[in-house]
Each structure stands twice: as C-alpha cells, then as structure tokens.
C-alpha cells in the first residue's frame, strides 16, 4: 500500500469510488433530513387545514420584513458556498477561504436576526406551548387580541420548526469554521475536496427548507 496518498482510504480502490461513496452517503443523509422536517410540515398542514383563520391571523405577528431579510441572506450564502466549491475544484484556495468566511458571516447574520425575532416574541409573552400569554402593543398590533384558541399551536409549530432549522444553521456554521481552517492549512486540492462539496450540499438543504418555512409561516 503506497503511503504517499493519505487522502485515499485503504478500503477504497480509487478516488472516484471514494468520492462517489461519500456523495451518495450525503444524499441519503439529506433524504433523512427532509423526512425529519416532513413530520413537522405534516403537523403544520394538519393544523392549518383545521384552523385556517387562526393561522392566518396568528401569522400577522411574525414580521415578514425580517423573514425576507433572512431569506436574502441565506440565498446569498448558498451562492457563496457554491462558488467556494467551484474554486476549490480549480485549486484557488485563497478565494475559497474568503468565500467560506462570507458564508459563515451570512449564517451568523441569519442567527442574529432570528435572535431578535425570538426575543421580541418572548418579551411579549409569545412562547411555544403552555406559556403562551401574548400582551403589549408592537407596531400598532395589540398582542392580547391574539390570545385565541389554537394560536398557541401556530406558535408551537413556528418555534419548533424554525428552532430545529436554526440548530441546523448552527451546525452549518461549525462546519464552515472547520472547513475554513482546513482549507487554510492546505488540506484540499482539486483531487480531494469531498468535505467542501458535502458541506455545500448540506447547506443548500438548510437553505431550501427555509425557502419553504418563510412563506408558510410568515406570508400565508
């Protein structure tokens, strides 16, 4: 066994085989992620079809401008991550570092916006579940008027879905941080860049899920 090539694991025959295996594995993992979220989308669909008016009314409390801002931020990050894969394939690693850091920053902006949204809600008693007790007036909206049956379900679903999505964003940030250091230390080359590619795939999924969450929760 040649010791020169450390990126090819001994149980694989070639780089192509190793790369294909990793990519197929990642796609399967993304399928499980979709099914994980599917459970929550089903819960959303069920409760929405039972109480459409409540969902319509409750969604007024979510600020669509912040949601739209986050959508733009995430789309931008998907773009930078796609570019980073493009450049790692060409071996231009300093560009890759910059692009990965830009992605990381976008993800951080997303989380900061979410933090302000959440804390704004919590300060007016909009909690998931039993703690739901909306009060106070924001932007001319009297929160106490939203204390109606099944509004808690809407916010439970909102917090659970965006919360779990947020956890995925945090994981993505961790991955981008780790990738950045590895690129900077010269671990990747046009022959071997599997982790960048796979993290990119993951990040596109996180992005796509948000693309569904935003209209379903904020707009309709």
């Amino acid at each position: 066994m040649s010791s020169a090539d450390t990126t090819l694991k001994h149980y694989f025959v070639s780089h192509e085989q190793q790369f294909d295996a990793a990519k197929l594995g990642m796609w399967l993992f993304l399928v499980t992620e979709i099914l994980l979220f599917a459970g929550m989308f089903v819960a959303y669909a069920v409760y929405r079809s039972w109480h459409p008016e409540v969902f319509l009314q409750a969604s007024e409390l979510l600020d669509w401008r912040l949601g739209a801002l986050n959508t733009v931020v995430l789309l931008a990050s998907s773009f930078t991550v796609a570019l980073s894969i493009h450049f790692v394939q060409k071996g231009e690693n300093d560009k890759v570092v910059v692009l990965l850091i830009m992605t990381l920053v976008c993800a951080a902006i997303f989380m900061v916006v979410k933090y302000f949204e959440y804390s704004g809600k919590f300060s007016h008693g909009v909690f998931p579940g039993a703690g739901f007790e909306p009060h106070g007036i924001v932007d001319g909206k009297d929160y106490s008027k939203y204390d109606i049956p099944f509004a808690p379900q809407f916010f439970s679903i909102y917090f659970v879905m965006t919360g779990i999505h947020g956890v995925h964003v945090l994981v993505g940030m961790g991955l981008f941080g780790w990738l950045t250091t590895r690129v900077a230390r010269g671990h990747f080359s046009p022959q071997y860049y599997t982790p960048v590619e796979l993290t990119g795939l993951y990040w596109h999924l996180v992005d796509i899920i948000w693309i569904f969450l935003f209209p379903l929760l904020y707009l309709i």
């Binding site: 197929l24 459970g39 929550m40 819960a43 069920v46 808690p152 379900q153």
Partner: protein, 546 residues
C-alpha cells in the same frame, strides 16, 4: 492461502482495540454482545410478565409494576434487540464479506453508530431504573405519555438517539452495496442476505427520521406543553398514532426483512440448490420495503380514523401478502428436489417457515376490518406479533448466528446440543403463544395484570394462561441452553474449517477459517452466482463437517 494464526480477532489485543475498532467484523461482534445482553434483560422481564399471568389474581407484580415491566420489556425487545440485531450483528459481519469489500463504505460512521446505539440503550434502561418507571407501553401513546413521569423524556431521547444509529447503519449499507462491490459482483449475483439488508437499509433511512421527529415533538410536548398531541391542550392524540405507526409499521420490516435474507441463504446452502426464484425473492424484499410504507393505518382501525381510510389501509395490507407469499413459496420450492441437509441452522430455517407463516396469516386476519374490531388489543394481537417478531425475526437471527458462528469465532458448536435446544425453543414458543390466539379470540385483553374477573364466563382462561406460562419457561430453558453451548464452543469447541457448510458465497469460499483483518488477501474476482451449487463439489470441495 491464509496464515491460520493471524486473523481479525487476534490482529490487535486489549479492550481498547475493540472499543476503537473500525473493522466491520469486530463491530458486528460488539453488536452481538450488546444485543445479547439486552435480549437477556428483555427475556427476564418477559418471564416476570408471564409469571404474573400464570395464575389468576395478583401474584408477583402489582398492577402498576406489571405495566412498567411490560413497557420496558417491549422497549428493550423492539428498539434494543430486534431492530438493531440482524443488521448490526450479521449485516456488519457478513455483508462486506459477501460482496467482496474490504470494509463498509464509512467505517468510522459504523463505529459511531454503535456508540449512538449504546448511548440510547443506556439512557433507556437507566432512565427507567433511576428516573421513573414509565408504564405507557412501548407505543408511548399520548395522552398516557404526555401525562406520565418525567422518565418519558429519557425514553423518548433514547429512542431518538438509537434511531439515528439505525439510520446511519442503513445508510452505510446502502452505499456499501452500491459502491463497494468486488469486480464481477453484479446486482444479480448479490447473495439474497445482502439484498435483504439493502432493502432494510432503504426502510431504515426513510422511516426512522419520522420516529425521530415524533420523539422530538413528544419530548417538547412533555417539556413545554406545545399542544400538538395532548388533547388537554388542544392537540390531537390520533396524529401521534399516525406519526408513530408511520415509522413503526415499516419498522416491522426492518425487523423481518433481514431475517428473510438469512432464510434465503440457509435454504440455498442446506438444500444445496440454486435458490428458486432468485430475482423474485430479491425484488420482493424491495417491494415489501416500499409497500410497508402504505399500511400504517391498520393499527388504527378503531382509533377514529375515517371509514374510507380504514378500507384503503385494509386493502393495502392484503397486498403485502403477495411479495411475502412469493418468498415463502420460493423457499419451499428451493427444498423441493434438493438434498436437504438438516443441520441446526436449517432446523431454524424450517422453524421460521412454519412460525412466520402463522404470524403472517394471522396478520392478514387482523387486517380484515370486521375481524380486527373484535381482536384489536386482545391477546390475539400479542400472539400475532410474537409469531412474526420472535418466531420470524428472532428465530431467523438464531439460525443465522448458528450458520455464521464458525466464521465469526473459528469454532464449531455441538450439533446435538443445537438440535435439542431448537426443539425446546420450538415447543416452548408454540406453547407460549399459540394458546394466546385462543385467549385473544375469547376476548382476553392485552396489558391486564389480572384476569380473575373473566373466569366466571371463561373458566378456560386459567388453564390457557398457565400453559402459556409453562411454555415460556420451556422457551427460556431452550434459549439459555443456546447461550451455554455457545460459550462452551467459544472456548472448547473444535476448530472450524474455512467452509464447513460447503457454501458458495464469498465469505465462505474466499476467506480463511477466521477472516483476517482486511477480509481478503486479494480482492475476489466474481465469476458466478451466489448459489451455483451445481459447481460446488468440484470447485469448492466436498462438505467437510461430519
């Protein structure tokens, strides 16, 4: 040829060399030890349950204790034994060998899966022991579960974590089968065990995330009262049942498909014939995997689901009988005109055929709407699922363990002891569970610790329950006997040859008595099918075990 003294077992030494191994064969052994221990625990709990029911009136367990004990029994047997065992033990050990690979596609992920599984298992058992004795049944139906003790939080987290172990195992095997096959190992040369584990992987990957999110939602329901499932908060308990069974029905195929794969290999090897209908058996596994996703509603016929959905679910349930029947008939046809060699593994294969058929047919019976209204939540259902889960999945596993034992340990076990234990298991099992079909049709409900109040109308309950309990003891003796002669064989058993059964698949023909660390010295070049027994005697030598 291989150097006899050097193999995967002695390549490295010490406990840490095991706990840090990425060798699929060693990970398989680690699953064997873990699942074996959990099976012992689950079995002891079952003995408590059965002893309580042996006589009318309260004997050894109070009402609450009874509920707690059968809950842990169910959780342990389902989530810690039957679901992980065959893929974890035999899938890991055998599958890469069968396709001529050096390892699975992601060895480190494989080890991580074992640790996730152990973490889930320890959380489940410790949560039950030290935090609170959950008594919801393994189904965790709301509102029982949202109102139960906080230990539910532990159990749901445990199921979530162990679920991810199952997902990663399935994912690993799918990728391995797609990408790691040796040259010449085409899809229609895959051994049927590998096909079955592949189909199982599909179910694991597609179904398990749903129980994952269900457990997360249940966890949050308990912690924050989010009101999705709990009717007291405006939630919908039937939605929970839908989510739960959307996983748990496919999960029964996670349990049975690998066992079916084992049986296919056993039938070929011990009938010394090409497995009849190879393509049909292979593809029916995949068909079952997909159809299994469309029938979950048959658990909810009396839970307030609409009549129309019940009718549709009932009809789809009948469809599952078709691919299943295809398998059963092909197994029988494989033996026809073969030279059946009745060794312990084959005895278990025949036992499977008999018990699984009863389990499957009674499953069709409870899939009939009018019948199920009567039989739901009675002992008939308990008997049905034990015939499939224990009579099917577990008997398949035991047969497979006997079959691959020489390859895993390098030793033979005592054949006579094997046969006697098999007979005890068969008698004990049928006595335990066949009686329960009668109890169920008479209306004895499940999950009751005492049936004295029924005795006035049905005095036969007493004797049927007693028989069932005696049966469970016989079954227990048979299982303990297996454990004893297995341990004996491990230390004292005669050394096995490389291919004691004269089998045709790569794990027997291309490795030494105990495979070495990297499986094959040279990657095999496959030029024939997995059951080409017409070539066997001249190509692989005559069967050596007397």
């Amino acid at each position: 040829m291989s150097d006899e003294s050097h193999n995967y077992l002695n390549a490295r030494k010490g406990l840490w060399s095991w706990l840090s191994t990425t060798d699929h064969k060693r990970i398989g052994i680690m699953y064997a030890i873990a699942c074996g221990a959990f099976f012992l625990l689950g079995g002891i709990l079952a003995t408590f349950v059965r002893t309580e029911l042996g006589e009318p009136g309260e004997t050894i367990l109070g009402q609450d204790q009874y509920n707690q004990v059968f809950t842990l029994h169910g959780v342990v047997m389902v989530f810690l034994v039957i679901i992980p065992a065959i893929p974890g033990i035999l899938g890991n050990f055998v599958l890469p060998l069968q396709i001529g690979a050096k390892d699975v596609a992601f060895p480190r992920l494989n080890l991580a899966s074992w640790y996730l599984f152990m973490a889930g298992a320890i959380m489940a058992v410790c949560g039950w022991l030290f935090v609170g004795r959950v008594d919801t049944g393994w189904t965790f139906y709301t509102p029982y579960s949202s109102g139960a003790s906080n230990a539910v939080l532990w159990l749901t987290s445990a199921v979530f974590i162990a679920g991810f172990a199952s997902i990663f195992t399935g994912l690993n095997f799918i990728v391995t089968v797609h990408k790691m096959r040796a040259p010449g190992m085409t899809w229609n040369r895959l051994p049927l065990f590998t096909w079955a584990i592949y189909a199982t992987g599909i179910v694991q990957v597609l179904a398990t995330p749903v129980i994952g999110i269900t457990m997360v939602l249940l966890f949050l329901e308990k912690l924050l009262q989010i009101g999705i499932f709990d009717p007291a908060l405006g939630g919908d308990p039937v939605l929970f049942q839908h989510f739960f069974w959307f996983y748990s029905h496919p999960a029964v195929y996670i349990m049975i498909l690998p066992a079916m794969g084992i049986i296919s290999d056993l039938m070929g090897t011990f009938s010394r014939q090409h497995v009849s209908g190879y393509t049909f058996i292979a593809l029916s596994s995949v068909a079952i995997a997909f159809l299994g996703f469309l029938v979950w509603g048959h658990h909810m016929f009396v839970a307030g689901q609409s009549a129309l959905s019940s009718i549709i679910f009932s009809m789809l349930t009948f469809l599952i009988g078709i691919p299943t029947g295809i398998k059963v008939f092909n197994w029988v046809a494989t033996m026809y005109k073969g030279s059946v060699w009745l060794r312990t593994p084959m005895i278990y294969a025949l036992m499977f055929l008999f018990l699984f058929t009863i389990g499957g047919l009674t499953g069709i019976m409870v899939g009939v709407l009018a019948v199920d209204v009567h039989l739901h939540d009675t002992y008939f259902v308990v008997a049905h699922f034990h015939y499939v889960m224990m009579g099917g999945a577990l008997i398949g596993l035991i047969g497979g363990l006997h079959y691959w034992w020489p390859k895993m340990t390098g030793r033979m076990y005592n054949e006579t002891a094997g046969v006697i234990a098999a007979i005890l298991v068969f008698i004990g099992f049928n006595l335990t569970f066949f009686t329960q079909f009668f109890l169920g049709t008479k209306g004895m409900p499940r999950r009751y610790h005492d049936y004295s109040e029924f005795l006035e109308i049905y005095p036969e309950f007493a004797v049927l329950n007693l028989a069932s309990t005696i049966g469970s003891y016989i079954l227990g003796v048979g299982l303990v006997m297996i454990l004893v002669y297995a341990l004996y064989s491990l230390f004292r058993g005669p050394k096995a040859t490389a291919n004691p059964w004269g089998a045709c698949t790569l794990e027997w023909t291309h490795t030494g008595p105990v495979p070495d660390e990297h499986n094959f010295h040279d990657t095999p070049l496959v030029t024939r099918g997995p059951y080409d027994y017409h070539l066997a005697d001249d190509v692989f030598g005559k069967k050596t075990e007397s």
